[in-house]
Amino acid sequence: MDYQQLAKKIVQRAKKKGAQQAEAFLEVGRQGSVRVHEGQIEDLTQSTSKGVGVRVLVKGRLGFAYTSDFEPAALDHIIDLALKLAGAAAPNKLNGLPSGKDLGRFGDTGLLFDTKVSELPGDWKIKAALEVEKAARAEDSRVVAFNAVGAGDFVSEVYMASTEGMTGAYSGTYVFLYAMPVASDGKGLQTGYWVDYKRFLDDLDSPESIGREATRRAVRMLGAKRVKTQQVPVVLDPLVASNFVSDLAAAANGNAVYQQASVLAPLKGKRLAGPHVTLVDDGLLPRGLATAPFDGEGVPTRRTPILDKGVLSGFLYDAFTARKAKARTTGNASRGYNALPSIGATNLYLEAGTKSPEELLREVDSGFYVTALLGQGTDPVTGELSAGANGLWIEKGELTHPVQEVTVAGNLLQMLQDVDGIGSDLQFRGGSVGAPTVRFRQLTVSGE
């Protein structure tokens, strides 16, 4: 089926039925994943999927409907539904699809599609997952079980069309490996998690390295205990630091800012951190998991610095919020076919610093190296963070004993000021949010 044509047809049909503006967002994909257990397949899943969402505007009123059924009658039905729902919404003169001036030319995304992934032999996933499991077991005899070990890939295609002249399509590939071994010292159990997730097969860490690192992370937590309640320097490993990065981006969401429901709302242009702190959302990052030529409403993606050398330089917008806030869309409308666009980050990362992670630890006399967090993270309205934390205690620059059942707490704005070290080890570990090792001068660790 020619999906680009189908998207255009849906738009024309909606217009004919009375929509002043209409947009179709269509996704098609196929995916496969496997989990293994004790040298055997545990489960193997394969599928194809598709769906289309139709957004219409009638006299400033917005309606939206979606379906996974592409039969002509079903498509006609959701167009009718979307038009009917527009009748139930309130008119708002700010409603509307992105206009010609917002649409414009797409930037250069580089390659998004790897034929090595799309043409992976059927048993690659199984073999790779079995290798991950084997390496994880071989790394340490204290590994007694696995929460899960797996591999997967998927291919996805996006097609869009709108009455405002938007037309476009892209397709991409994704491949991943992960392991969650469980280690025991006879007294307690600890798990570790390690993953890699890439667009290109050649960028993917080897199955062996995933298995080994997952085991190292589990085993080093054996014997973990609480520490005393105290205020100390806290270092986040890259996996954990990516949560801090996501929390910052959530507070830079243009809608939260417009609603004054973000601690960052009044601070645009202000210095919030040292000049070594730069936070960027980049929809065009080469080989990035979230790289795409256009966002969920057809606007070209781009690079948007949120913190530029420590200064709060920008917020993230979709077209509707930008109109409300008298700003410009930044191409950050994020969505699947079954949801309306809303503001979301693309490839989001904290720029790397110059020091190695070891150097950052070496400078700490007594502190906490956090390797896993539990909880929701920071409240963007108040900036308050309180989270459960697991990790390793730092004494005289060295990692010593494992720590669990404690929390770390602080405030986003204070934490930004307190970032006193950023590692050179920027990585996108299992997602489109990237971070290096990050050190804070001081946070409250709550324990005994």
């Binding site: 899943t45 194809t48 929390t407 770390v408």
Partner: protein
């Protein structure tokens, strides 16, 4: 990608992602001869068991922001999943195309997990009766959307009228009419229609010097739309606004161990995190839960009896059948502190030589079933709630909660307290901010020293996430006192 943790939270006002809907409920979702053909194809390579899962879900969502209905949306998700089990191996394939060739392709793909050849066999199915724990006369998908948007406009007015310090109100209403059919090679065919709705209101209040606090409340269940006559949007909105205003002026929370008293109701997520997930049979079978191998052992204080009950009338987590076609059940998991049972789906039950407890649930046809909770409660005790508070000299009263998360393996759980007060000489003192409880499941439950006489279910807003699958759940708890809980905070004594 799956993580070795699971979490529960209140569905936020912004969270409009799918729940589901249906056609006329008399006709089968998929013709029986086709279902039987798919089972035969699924077994053609000699699997031990095959199952066809059919789902058709219609979701409607409306959202209010800045006192306007921002959007109204509706959508249909439908598909068929075919599962084949061969020994301990599972093959799964699904399709959202309903035409016969696409479905047969899915069945053949799933069949490949078995390596054998084998003659074609036939697997006739018979429709089995299912219990009825919810009665939604008019499917929610057939309720006029104008009535749904009307609820939100009323909530907005009530929240803003509650207090002048209320600055922002976001509200959402989501419902789904989800119809499922499950057929398997044991000859069992079952169907269920699972209507579900939820309203959520989120309020930001502003105090002195730009201080902002949030409040959130919601509710719903497997209920008719008339539910909102007795659980009106004004009630939801005022409670959200009350929380936001009540916490203005909150002081820093003291960090370190404290005695805590939990208000009844939604605080049941503590139970869900601290023990519930750790009793799910997949973790038990693999030996990755700290509760593995502890049946019959003391894992909690004598005062603790934990029940998971899928049969609660109209409950958000209730199920007439689970997503493997087995009836929802009431299970006593911990009785007077002793571990009695785990939560089993069909596959783990079989591999562990046990009986399924009707706990095999899945988010949609795109997912494999996993052992999951339904409505999880702590049985009431015999202490008057007001006495429980009175006895505490110094501690923390946890009135409302955000969400929680657990690491099943080491048992560490967290529990976010969105409205908390210092307790001084048995009375509530100042509100504190940014509090969080952390503990290790069994240790925390051994420190339960008082259980109130006031059991209370949550109002119907829980969302549980495991292995990337989101499900509606219910929780419940009477007033509870736990000693020596680590409280995360910013203030060091």
């Amino acid at each position: 990608m799956p993580r070795a943790s699971a979490s529960t939270r209140r569905a936020s006002a912004a969270q409009l992602a799918p729940p589901v809907a249906r056609g006329p409920s008399s006709a089968p979702l998929l013709p029986q001869p086709l279902v039987e053909r798919l089972l035969a194809v699924a077994m053609e390579r000699g699997g031990d068991f095959a199952e066809v899962y059919v789902e058709r879900t219609l979701t409607t969502a409306v959202m209010l922001e800045e006192s306007r209905i921002k959007s109204a949306q509706t959508g249909l998700i439908q598909g068929v999943g075919v599962r084949v089990i061969s020994g301990a191996k599972v093959g799964y394939a699904y399709s959202d195309d309903w035409d016969e060739p696409a479905l047969v392709r899915a069945a053949s793909t799933a069949a490949m997990i078995a390596q054998g050849g084998g003659a074609e066999r036939s697997f006739p199915v018979r429709r089995a009766a299912v219990p009825s724990h919810y009665h939604v006369a008019t499917p929610l998908m057939d309720v006029d959307v104008a009535l749904k948007t009307g609820l939100l406009s009323r909530a907005d007015k009530a929240a803003r009228a509650f207090d002048a310090r209320v600055k922002q109100v976001n509200a959402s209403y989501v419902d789904q009419t989800r119809r499922i059919a499950v057929a398997n090679t044991e000859g069992r065919y079952t169907e269920d229609t699972q209507d579900l709705c939820r309203m959520a209101v989120q309020v930001v209040a502003q105090g002195k010097n730009g201080e902002q606090r949030t409040g959130m409340f919601g509710g719903g269940g497997r209920v008719s739309f008339t539910h909102w006559d007795t659980f009106p949007p004004e009630h939801v909105a005022r409670e959200a606004a009350r929380q936001a205003v009540a916490t203005l002026g909150a002081v820093d929370c003291a960090a370190g161990p404290q005695t805590v008293v939990l208000a009844p109701g939604w605080s049941g997520i503590l139970l869900h995190e601290a023990v519930g997930h750790g009793l799910e049979a997949d973790f038990i079978r693999k030996g990755t839960s700290l509760f593995a191998g502890k049946l019959g052992q003391k894992v909690a204080s004598d005062l603790v009896t934990v029940i998971d009950d899928g049969t609660v009338s109209s409950g958000r987590g209730s199920i007439n059948i689970d997503d493997e076609g087995n009836p929802g059940e009431r299970k006593v998991l911990i009785e007077n502190g002793v571990l009695k049972n785990y939560l089993y789906d069909g596959l783990n039950a079989k591999l562990m030589n046990q009986r399924t407890t009707g706990s095999g649930r899945r988010e949609s046809f795109k997912h494999l079933p996993l052992p999951r909770m339904t409505n999880t409660f702590l049985a009431p005790g015999d202490h008057a709630p007001e006495d429980i508070l009175k006895e505490v000299k110094r501690g923390l009263y946890c009135a409302t909660f955000g969400g929680g998360q657990v690491d099943i393996t080491n048992g560490n759980f967290v529990f976010e307290v969105s409205e908390a007060y210092q307790i001084e000489d048995g009375k509530l003192g100042r509100p504190v901010k940014n509090a969080m409880l952390i503990g290790v499941g069994p240790e925390a439950l051994k420190n339960v020293t008082r259980v109130g006489t006031d059991p209370m279910p949550d109002p119907g807003m829980g969302v549980c996430m495991k292995d990337g699958q989101m499900l509606p759940v219910g929780v419940g708890l009477p007033t509870l006192r736990i000693d020596n809980v680590t409280v995360g905070g910013t203030k060091v004594a």
